[in-house]
């Protein structure tokens, strides 16, 4: 055992540090589980508190929030079909279906297990391949980002279920809404109708709350849902751990999810939201029983959850090795570390190895803590299903509204939430899938800005970006992704 590791162990296993970690995990779980509160917000709000404690203690709390929020975001996604954070959108697809089948316990249990798996796998990646991953992330220029976004958008058909045409239309609607605001290249105002609040575009999180929170409530009301969710209330919670046979079936999906999540998380500006959708769709494509995905597939759920959580390790890898934020949360973490005089980056590995070990150990401990919390909490949490529906609906509307406002202290975000909720409801009634819409909103800005950056770099020549290997890879993957449904139909 190296002396650096000993120093780190001593720093971590100090009562106060562990206490801060536990507080962070619990707070993070609350932030993650409430729709409208995100991991980013939790870390941002509590960062100032860490100015007055040691770097290790402060970091323990912030890492705890990060590690606690992402798994907790899956809980409302599974129980009430409202994702707690953007990273848990894909979790709701199979998770809620399982919960409706009376297997809420298993879904929550898998959420805990796969969160642990995803976080641990990504930490292992961080420990053994930090610098290669970071170099890979840095090699992403505009053309590569465009390729990644294009590939992500090509998944729209896959996440549309039966209604491919309507799904693609919804995806285009998402792309169109993403163009609102200042043009990313020339800063010319687009489609903001003279309203300054829309110059930065429509904020994503309020729209997500509207699409999945308010519109879910309206849909359930319109379908004449009863006072209680009878099916679930009558059914037992069910077991929370998968059987050995199930575990064997899930393992490859979980590993695929974790690997994809780590890599996507490592790329700056792409996080668990994009990663989990890509992972879910990749797992589905490789699966034999494609039809069951989105209707309660254990593999689909596992892959999505593992990817959402693995993105944490990926983002941390980029942050630690390069000093570049891998996502919004790690951007705030860099700020917090700077306050303590710690500069993330390659020098950190040379000059302050004990601190790097401390950080990795804290991440492992946080993953284990949140796992235990998730398993212990599964049974009490599932009682949410016994709360009368109207109470739940009122709670979702209220927390969604206030959460949308609290994000940027902007009334316009509350309106974005409301309008998205009503439109989302109408689209659901017309059997237009919402998954592609969200994908378009997330990936639209990435695709447009980077396409145009790539064209500036190539002086307007569309062929130059094609000569780059990663771009070529993504383009091929896009073609395969778009063509595969047709091939399958022929062979079937």
């Amino acid at each position: 055992m190296t002396p650096d590791l000993l120093v780190a162990l001593r720093a971590v296993f100090e009562l106060q540090t562990l206490g801060f970690l536990a507080v962070g995990v619990v707070l993070g779980a609350i932030f993650g589980a409430l729709p409208g509160l995100t991991a980013t917000m939790g870390v941002a709000v509590l960062t100032p508190l860490t100015f007055w404690v040691s770097a290790e203690q402060g970091l323990a709390m912030l890492l705890g929030i990060y590690a606690g929020a992402i798994p907790a975001g899956g809980i409302p996604a599974i129980l009430i079909n409202v994702p707690g954070t953007p990273a848990s959108i894909a979790t709701s697809w199979d998770g809620y279906a399982l919960s409706q089948r009376g297997q809420a316990g298993l879904a929550l249990g898998l959420n805990a297990w796969m969160s642990l798996a995803g976080q641990l796998v990504s930490i292992v990646f961080l420990a053994v391949a930090a610098f290669p991953i970071a170099t890979f992330a840095l090699s992403f220029g505009p053309a590569e980002y465009f390729g990644l976004a294009l590939f992500g958008i090509s998944l729209m058909a896959g996440v549309s279920g039966k209604h491919v045409l309507k799904g693609l239309l919804a995806g285009c609607l998402g792309l169109a809404l993403a163009t609102v605001g200042l043009d990313p290249m020339t800063a010319y105002p687009r489609f903001n109708f003279g309203i300054a609040d829309f110059l930065d575009g429509i904020s994503f999180v309020p729209v997500m709350i509207g699409l999945f929170g308010l519109s879910e409530v309206l849909t359930q009301i319109s379908e004449g849902a009863g006072r209680t969710q009878t099916a679930q209330a009558d059914a037992k919670l069910g077991r929370t751990t998968p059987t050995g046979e199930e575990a064997r079936r899930i393992a490859p999906a979980a590993f695929t999810g974790a690997a994809i999540g780590t890599l996507v998380g490592a790329i700056p500006a792409a996080g668990g939201d994009v990663g989990s959708v890509i992972a879910w769709e990749q797992t589905r494509r490789l699966a034999r029983d494609k039809e069951i995905y989105g209707k309660g597939s254990l593999e689909g759920l596992s892959s999505a959850v593992a990817a959402a959580n693995a993105a944490i390790g990926g983002a941390m890898t980029t942050m630690l090795t390069l000093g570049i934020p891998g996502d919004a949360v790690s951007a705030i973490l860099i700020g917090a570390l700077l306050i303590h005089g710690i500069q993330p980056g390659p020098l950190l590995f040379q000059n302050n190895r004990p601190f790097v070990f401390t950080l990795v150990l804290l991440m492992v401990l946080a993953a284990v803590l949140v796992f235990l919390l998730g398993l212990l909490g599964a049974r009490p949490l599932a009682r949410v299903l016994r709360v009368p529906n109207p109470w739940l609906w009122a709670g979702i509307v209220l927390f969604g509204t206030v959460g949308a406002y609290a994000l940027n202290n902007a009334v316009v975000d509350v309106w974005a939430m409301y309008v998205a909720g009503v439109i989302g409801f109408l689209l659901r009634r017309a059997t237009v899938p919402l998954g592609p819409l969200v994908l378009g909103l997330i990936l639209g800005p990435m695709m447009e800005a980077n396409l145009r950056r790539a064209l500036i770099l190539s002086r307007g020549d569309w062929t130059v970006p094609l000569t780059r290997p990663i771009v070529l890879f993504f383009l091929l993957a896009t073609v395969v992704s778009l063509a595969s449904p047709f091939f399958r139909r022929k062979s079937a």
């Binding site: 792309l175 169109a176 687009r190 009301i221 319109s222 209220l398 009334v411 409301y418 237009v432």
Partner: protein, 136 residues
């Protein structure tokens, strides 16, 4: 008219508006696409995707009847609540809104008021005192 055709027409109308708006934006310089390039081609894609929905004659499926009145009332009540956002007395306004909402959804006044008060207290505690968000 089938439901799919209506969906197709709505999306096509949106696409047309988008393309018209995109045309009004400055064109690119030289070979570089401008601000309107991306929205314009999204509009084109939407038109192409909407066409089969409009043209295709799909058999009308018998769907379960939808009760529009309740979701419309909930959406309307929420609209009124949001219009009053920022006008002061946040806690009081919220309790009244939630109590009305719950009554609309079939809860008794007593249960509704209890739940409303609890939820409002939780939000005020968490956001106003915990996160220092000024709710007014």
């Amino acid at each position: 008219m089938s439901a799919d055709r209506i969906v197709g027409l709505v999306f096509a109308a949106f696409a047309a508006a988008l393309m018209a708006g995109a045309k009004a934006l400055p064109a690119g310089i030289g070979k570089q696409p401008g601000a309107g390039f991306f929205p314009f081609w999204i509009g084109v894609a939407m038109l192409l995707l909407a066409a089969p929905l409009i043209l295709k004659t799909s058999p009308e499926k018998a769907k379960e009847p939808i009760r529009w009145s309740r979701p419309a009332l909930v959406a309307g009540l929420t609209l009124v609540y949001l219009l009053l956002w920022g006008s002061g007395w946040f806690a009081l306004r919220t309790v009244v809104f939630l109590a009305l909402l719950l009554r609309l959804l079939g809860e008794s006044w007593r249960a509704g008021l209890g739940v409303s008060a609890t939820l409002t207290a939780a939000v005020v505690l968490a956001f106003q005192y915990g996160l220092r968000v000024s709710l007014e």
